[in-house]
C-alpha cells in the first residue's frame, strides 16, 4: 500500500470532518476558518503544478458547495492558489512549520481578496467592516489547521520525503 495515498485520503476525510463537525461545534465564529484551504496548502506544496491545479479545483468546488450560494468563487481562487502551491513545490522543499503557516496565512488573505473581488464584481459590493472579523479568524485558525493536517499527514506517510 502506498503510504502517501493513504495519508492523502485520511487527511481529506479529516479535513472534511473538521470543517463540517468540529469547527461548528467549537464555535460558530470558527466557521470562517477554511480547513480545505489548509488541506490544499498541505497537499499543494507536495505536488507539482498540474496536481496543484487539480486539487485546487476539487477543493475549491467542494468549499463552494459547502459554504457558498454559487459555485465558482473559491473554485477560481483555490485553482489559482493550487497552481501557486504546486509552483512553489516545484521550486523548493517546504518542510518548516513557520513556512507552512506563512504560506497558508498568505493563501487565506489571497483567497479572501479574490473571492471578495469576484463577489463584488458579480453580485454586490461587500462592506469592509463585514469582512475583517471573519478574515482575521480564518487567517489565524486556518494556518493552525494546516499545521495540524501536516502533522497527521507526516505521521501517516512516515518515510515520505516531501
Amino acid at each position: 500500500m502506498r503510504r502517501p495515498a493513504v495519508a492523502t485520503v485520511v487527511v481529506c476525510l479529516l479535513a472534511l470532518a473538521v470543517q463540517l463537525v468540529l469547527l461548528p461545534l467549537v464555535s460558530r465564529d470558527l466557521n470562517s476558518a477554511n480547513c480545505f484551504l489548509a488541506l490544499l496548502a498541505v497537499l499543494g506544496v507536495r505536488q507539482k503544478r498540474l496536481a496543484g491545479v487539480l486539487w485546487g479545483a476539487v477543493l475549491g468546488g467542494l468549499t463552494d458547495a459547502l459554504l457558498m450560494q454559487h459555485a465558482g468563487y473559491h473554485g477560481i481562487a483555490f485553482t489559482l492558489l493550487g497552481y501557486g502551491f504546486g509552483w512553489l513545490g516545484e521550486k523548493m522543499v517546504i518542510t518548516g512549520r513557520g513556512a507552512l503557516f506563512t504560506l497558508t496565512f498568505a493563501a487565506v488573505l489571497l483567497d479572501a481578496a479574490l473571492v471578495t473581488a469576484l463577489f463584488s464584481a458579480l453580485e454586490r459590493p461587500l462592506a469592509a467592516a463585514v469582512l475583517w472579523g471573519p478574515v482575521a479568524v480564518s487567517a489565524a485558525v486556518t494556518p493552525l489547521l494546516a499545521l495540524g493536517l501536516e502533522r497527521v499527514y507526516r505521521l501517516l506517510a512516515r518515510g515520505e520525503r516531501p
Binding site: 503544478r49 491545479v53 475549491g60 454559487h70 459555485a71 473554485g75 477560481i76 504546486g86 458579480l122
Partner: protein
C-alpha cells in the same frame, strides 16, 4: 507544438478551470432578472445587433419611401378617379338612402286595430286652390275603397276619395271639405278637425274645455273613418270664441309638403 502543449499542461488546465468556474458563476448569479453571462452578452452584442438592425431597417424603409414617392403621382391620379366615381355613386345612392329611411319609419307606424297597412307611393299634390288632393299609386289588388284612411309615419294624411286603376285620389286633411273627429291626447276634449287650406281648424270645442297650445290632437274614431289614436296635429293657437266655442288651429302632424310614401289603412286583419 505538441511538446509545448504538454509542457504547458498545468497552465492550460489552470486556464480551463478558471474560465470554467467563471462561466459557471456568471450562469448562476442573477442580476436584474437575468444571469450575469446573459447581461454581459447583451451588453457586448446588443449595440452591434442594434446597429445592424437599424441599418437594415433604414435601408428597407428608405427603399420603401423611394417606391412610395415614385408611385405617388400614379396613386394620386387613381385616387382622383376613384373619388370622382364615388361622388357619382353617392349622388345616386343618397336619395335611395333617404327613401329607405322614410320606408323604415313607415314600417314603424303602429297599425290601427282591425286594419291592414298597404304601402303606396305619393306621386303629386294637385287641385289647389279648389282642393287639396294627393295622387297615390299602390297595389291594385289591395282592397282600397273610398274613405280608406291614408297615413304617414307622423300622422293622418287624409282619406281616399276616388280611384282609377291603381291610382287613388286622396283628400288631404287640410282640405276645407275634410272633417276628422279628433280629441286632445292630454285631456280628451273632443271636436272636429276641418282643413282651412294650409292648416287645420278644430271646431265644436267649448270654452270650458282644457286645451292649450302644444296639445296634441289625435283621431277620436267617432267619424267612423279613421281609427282612434292617430296624430292629426298640434295646437299652435288656442282662444275662446264669443259663441262659447274655442278657436283652435293645428299644425298638421303629417309632413304633407314632402310626402313620398304613405300607407293606406284598409279594413281587415294584418
Amino acid at each position: 507544438m505538441q511538446r509545448t502543449l504538454a509542457s504547458r499542461r498545468p497552465e492550460l488546465l489552470l486556464l480551463l478551470f478558471t474560465v470554467g468556474y467563471l462561466v459557471a458563476l456568471t450562469l448562476q448569479v442573477r442580476r436584474g432578472g437575468q444571469t450575469v453571462l446573459g447581461g454581459t452578452a447583451l451588453a457586448l452584442f446588443g449595440p452591434v445587433l442594434t446597429a445592424y438592425n437599424s441599418a437594415a431597417r433604414f435601408s428597407q424603409e428608405g427603399f420603401d419611401a423611394y417606391l412610395w414617392q415614385r408611385d405617388a403621382a400614379l396613386r394620386a391620379e387613381a385616387l382622383s378617379r376613384e373619388n370622382l366615381a364615388l361622388r357619382g355613386e353617392l349622388q345616386r345612392v343618397q336619395p335611395l338612402a333617404d327613401e329607405n329611411a322614410r320606408l323604415r319609419r313607415l314600417l314603424d307606424v303602429p297599425p290601427p286595430p282591425a286594419v291592414r297597412l298597404v304601402g303606396g307611393r305619393a306621386l303629386m299634390r294637385y287641385g289647389e286652390p279648389f282642393g287639396r288632393y294627393l295622387l297615390v299609386s299602390c297595389d291594385p289588388a289591395a282592397p282600397v275603397f273610398p274613405d280608406t284612411p291614408v297615413l304617414d309615419p307622423d300622422g293622418v294624411v287624409g282619406k281616399v276619395q276616388a280611384s282609377s286603376g291603381n291610382f287613388y285620389r286622396v283628400l288631404l286633411v287640410t282640405d276645407p271639405s275634410s272633417a276628422v273627429g279628433v280629441m286632445t291626447a292630454r285631456t280628451g276634449a273632443r271636436g272636429v278637425a276641418v282643413g282651412d287650406g294650409r292648416a287645420i281648424e278644430v271646431s265644436w270645442v267649448t270654452n270650458e274645455a282644457d286645451v292649450r297650445p302644444g296639445d296634441r290632437f289625435v283621431t277620436s274614431g267617432e267619424d267612423g273613418v279613421f281609427p282612434p289614436g292617430i296624430s292629426v296635429g298640434t295646437a299652435i293657437a288656442v282662444s275662446d270664441g264669443g259663441d262659447y266655442l274655442k278657436r283652435i288651429t293645428l299644425r298638421p302632424a303629417a309632413a304633407l309638403d314632402t310626402l313620398t310614401w304613405v300607407v293606406l289603412a284598409v279594413k281587415g286583419r294584418a
